[in-house]
């Protein structure tokens, strides 16, 4: 791997070509270091430990218990013992400077995602981060510029893009089943009040609700939608508007379960209970994003897709395709289209192959994402999810915060590809 790739050659190659990460015939394992090995990070690590082609030479966490547990897991997987970095919140800097790594995976709390990725790339490592990749527009640009300058990938680990129905819909969309796409919707509507009030687990989550107001967690929905709608690959988001309701439920919940005297019963929460965002694309498509982690609501899949020939409704797991569905204007199960449109990367999945070392739950989707990423890096090919995806999907949070703060004013969406969206082909897995 070389730092000599200049930005021009990277730009010229665009998304179509990966960095020649490894010499031909190179069968050395991919060396992956992990920053943050709590719940999520240790799961990612465990998935990687299940792959013969991956080694884990270094681990970093501020929590010594997590660090020791992760080390034990590496050893129990029969891999060489990793070096541990646990001297404090910025000890990842020491790790990315001193270790010989191909990839640094970041699964810290949100605010450290961009700093870790940027430090990794500046030290010649590819970076992969949990969602969201960045919290501010400045961070987004810094990630793009660092990636371009250092010729290193920055991948956001958005596993939602790889869900089987999501990939089937992508396949159907790309084959024109829905006609020309017009609209999509998706929601992170997930009652997290209990999680927010569990400071032992994720203390930073409540703080986000205290400090910020917008669509703070957009990537799970917008990731798959962006692939369906060819965002950054033929189209791009050009502006958005966002609106939040008032905030009452976190106070009510605290009063109910922790008593009226709990400071959380009266503390001012910035995050409106229900946030809704409308996105517009240069190609005239629209997207609705729901964000609601505060209200009592069963977890539902509010994904929708509408084209000129038909539509899909996630809540019903149903589609209607004009001229193809058996009854006019009547739903049929999405399942009916499985045989013809199951995505090839799912069709060929051997579930036995996709197991984390310790048999963690979590299904096949995340291991499949990891297989795709590790394969791409081993072969020197571009990853499916690139830095432009990472920042475009993540930028929605700060852009919606601005719109909400200014009475739902339309906010221009930065073009992080600097025009390359026009010539970049749609995502292709062949």
């Amino acid at each position: 791997m070389s730092k000599m790739h200049d930005r021009r050659s990277f730009l010229k190659k665009g998304f179509g070509v990966g960095f020649a990460a490894r010499a031909a015939g190179d069968v050395k394992p991919l060396r992956v270091g992990f920053v943050g090995v709590g719940d999520r990070g240790s799961y990612h690590m465990d998935v990687c430990l299940g792959m013969d082609s991956v080694e884990v030479p270094a681990l970093c966490d501020i929590n010594p218990w997590y660090l020791e547990r992760a080390k034990r897991w590496v050893e129990e997987a029969g891999k060489p013992a990793p070096k541990l970095y646990g001297r404090g919140p910025t000890d990842f800097l020491r790790m990315v400077e001193h270790e010989e790594l191909d990839l640094v995976v970041c699964a810290t709390s949100w605010r450290w995602h961009a700093p870790v990725c940027i430090a990794a790339m500046k030290n010649g490592k590819h970076a992969a981060t949990e969602v969201p990749a960045a919290l501010t527009i400045d961070e987004c640009w810094e990630m793009v510029e660092t990636s371009e300058k250092m010729a290193r990938h920055c991948v956001m680990l958005e596993q939602a893009n790889y869900s089987r129905p999501g990939m089937q819909l992508l396949n159907m969309a790309q084959k024109g089943v829905f006609g020309e796409l017009l609209h999509a919707a998706g929601g992170y509507v997930h009652d997290l009040r209990l999680v927010k009030y569990d400071p032992e687990r994720e203390p930073w989550r409540l703080q986000e609700s205290i400090d910020r107001n917008g669509c703070l967690y957009p990537t799970h929905q917008v990731g798959p939608i962006a692939w369906w709608l060819d965002i950054n690959r033929g189209d791009r988001f050009d502006y958005l508007v966002s609106m939040s309701t008032k905030a009452v439920t976190l106070n009510e919940y605290a009063a109910l379960y922790y008593g009226e005297k709990s400071p959380y019963a009266t503390m001012r929460m910035a995050q409106g209970d229900v946030n809704t965002t409308l996105l517009h694309t240069a190609g005239g498509k629209t997207v609705t994003l729901y964000f609601d982690t505060n209200t009592p609501h069963p977890h539902t899949a509010e994904m929708r897709l509408q084209g000129t020939k038909g539509h899909f409704a996630g809540e019903l797991a149903s589609v209607y395709i004009e001229g193809r569905s058996p009854k006019p204007h009547a739903w049929e199960p999405l399942e009916n289209y499985r045989e013809e449109f199951d995505h090839p990367i799912w069709r060929n999945v051997d579930p036995k192959k996709f197991r984390s070392a310790r048999g963690h739950g979590g299904g096949v989707t995340t291991p499949l994402m990891w297989q795709r990423l590790v394969d791409a890096l081993m072969k020197g090919e571009p990853p499916d999810e690139n830095v432009y995806d990472a920042v475009t999907w993540s930028a929605i949070a700060p852009l919606t915060e601005r719109s909400v703060a200014e009475k739902s004013r339309p906010i221009e969406f930065p073009d992080f590809t600097r025009g390359k969206w026009k010539t970049t082909p749609r995502i292709d897995f062949s």
């Binding site: 020309e180 017009l182 609209h183 009652d191 209990l194 999680v195 502006y239 508007v241 609106m243 939040s244 309701t245 008032k246 009452v248 439920t249 009510e252 409106g272 209970d273 229900v274 809704t276 409308l278 517009h280 190609g283 005239g284 498509k285 629209t286 609705t288 609601d292 209200t295 009592p296 609501h297 069963p298 977890h299 539902t300 509408q306 084209g307 000129t308 020939k309 038909g310 539509h311 409704a313 809540e315 019903l316 149903s318 209607y320 395709i321 004009e322 204007h329 009547a330 739903w331 009475k407 739902s408 004013r409 339309p410």
Partner: protein, 437 residues
């Protein structure tokens, strides 16, 4: 009721007081029927006449339509029900004015194409009749104000015939809310999502070709009142809260042209025509109390007709599409709960209007709601009670049409929504489900 009621009285009394101000005994007290003239006897007007004819307390002395054949059909419908033949008005587009001038009408109902709704209502009120109009009541902000000011000045009601307010679920959810089951109602979403391309292009029986015209020239949410009616009742709009501003966004327009090319060939004028109305419009409305509404409008795409309604409170949620409900603390788990079946709450919170009139409503238009709509309209007016949906509702729900057009044209800029109640929303009491009987 008299035209002498001045505007101050009307404002003081609000819509709730308009009728109460009448010194004269009510029609119901006198045992007299409500005398109704209907303008527009096409598909929709005829449906409403059918429902009116089921009620004993109604007379229909006059009908108006530009199409003599349709008029004759509607007259036959009335005589077929054993009532005297209504006089017909068919001398052209503005012949409704002569109908309004009659001295034997209490109410004029409008079921014309959209652009005539306000002119007919204003003419009726100015001639001393109550007005009731199909949705939407108006097409411009000015028309909305004209309706409000005419109603206040004349002391006559202007009712929006929003039948969705009488759906089983509308009143059921209203009962749930009044019982505190959903907590504070923070958010509601809904839509008019119905493929009516064939209706617009008149390729089906009972087509409404006038609906194509707005799709050529306008871009916004042209038909917002069906979801807005129930939501406004749930969220106390004009009665404790009000719409303050909106943002609206439309997708590109593709489907009407594609339909015309397929149906009529690429050289047909309808296939060459450009259509301005974006296929999928999405609108967000903010309220004074910090609540929010999301509206979809999509009458162009090939789709299943969807009854997308979701209302989210601080203590629970109702989802009409899934016909499911969730109330905090009622599930088996505190975290990651499942939906609860509607049946668990059905009996306890079913609204009395459906309990008592559900049998009569069955078989009527739109699943019974057209009957309940006419039943309530006639009953309130005969009893001298305020109508369930008054002129302020008509204006606030209908003004969404032109305001979404302004927002879409301004790249989804926020647009302020006028307060047609001029501050009365703060003191007007919420809709009382117990009075809807």
């Amino acid at each position: 009721m008299t035209e002498m009621i001045n505007r101050r009285d009307v404002l003081r009394l609000g819509a709730g007081g308009l009728a109460a101000a009448a010194a004269a005994p009510t029609l119901a007290a006198k045992g007299e029927p409500l005398r109704i003239g209907v303008v527009g006897t096409g598909g929709r007007g005829t449906s409403l006449i059918r429902e009116l004819l089921k009620l004993d307390s109604v007379e229909i002395p006059a009908l108006c339509d530009i199409d003599e054949e349709r008029l004759a059909r509607a007259q036959a419908l009335v005589t077929g029900a054993g009532k005297p033949k209504p006089e017909g008005y068919s001398r052209g587009e503005t012949d409704f004015r002569r109908l309004c001038e009659r001295d034997d009408l209490d109410l004029v109902i409008t079921a014309t194409p959209w652009k005539w709704h306000t002119p007919v209502c204003v003419a009726a009120m100015k001639a001393g009749k109550h007005a009731a109009t199909e949705v939407p009541a108006a097409q411009t902000v000015e028309e909305c104000w004209e309706l409000v000011e005419t109603s206040e000045k004349t002391g006559k009601h202007c009712v929006l015939l929003e039948n969705d307010c009488y759906y089983w679920y509308t009143l059921f959810v209203l009962n749930l809310i009044r019982a505190g089951m959903l907590g504070e109602v923070l958010y509601a979403e809904g839509g008019y999502m119905h493929d009516i391309r064939a209706v617009k292009f008149n390729t089906v029986p009972n087509g409404e070709p006038w609906r194509l015209e707005p799709a050529i020239h306008r871009n916004g949410n042209l038909y917002p009142t069906h979801p807005l009616g129930p939501m406004s009742w749930w969220m106390d709009i004009n009665r404790g809260d009000r719409f303050t501003y909106l943002v609206s966004m439309s997708s590109k327009a593709r489907c009407l042209k594609e339909f015309a090319i397929r149906e009529f060939g690429p050289d047909d004028p309808r296939a060459r025509q450009d259509y301005k109305l974006g296929d999928v419009n999405t609108t967000l409305i903010g309220t004074e109390n910090g609540h929010q509404i999301l509206l979809y409008f999509d009458t162009n795409t090939p789709r299943v007709k969807e009854h997308l309604i979701r209302v989210q409170g601080s203590k629970g949620v109702y989802n009409q599409m899934l016909e499911k409900i969730y109330i905090d603390g009622h599930g088996e788990r505190r975290h990651n709960p499942d939906w609860l079946p509607l049946d668990r709450y059905r009996e306890q919170y079913e609204h009395q209007l459906w309990k008592t009139r559900g049998e009569q409503a069955r078989g009527a238009g739109h699943g019974g709601i057209d009957y309940l709509l006419m039943y309530r309209l006639v009953k309130t007016l005969r009893n001298g009670e305020p109508p369930d949906i008054d002129v302020y509702d008509a204006a606030a729900w209908s003004v969404i049409v032109p305001l979404t057009e302004a927002s879409v044209a301004g790249r989804s800029k926020p647009v302020d929504i006028p307060d047609f109640t001029r501050g009365k929303w703060k003191i007007r009491p919420p809709v009382d489900p117990d009075r809807i009987v």
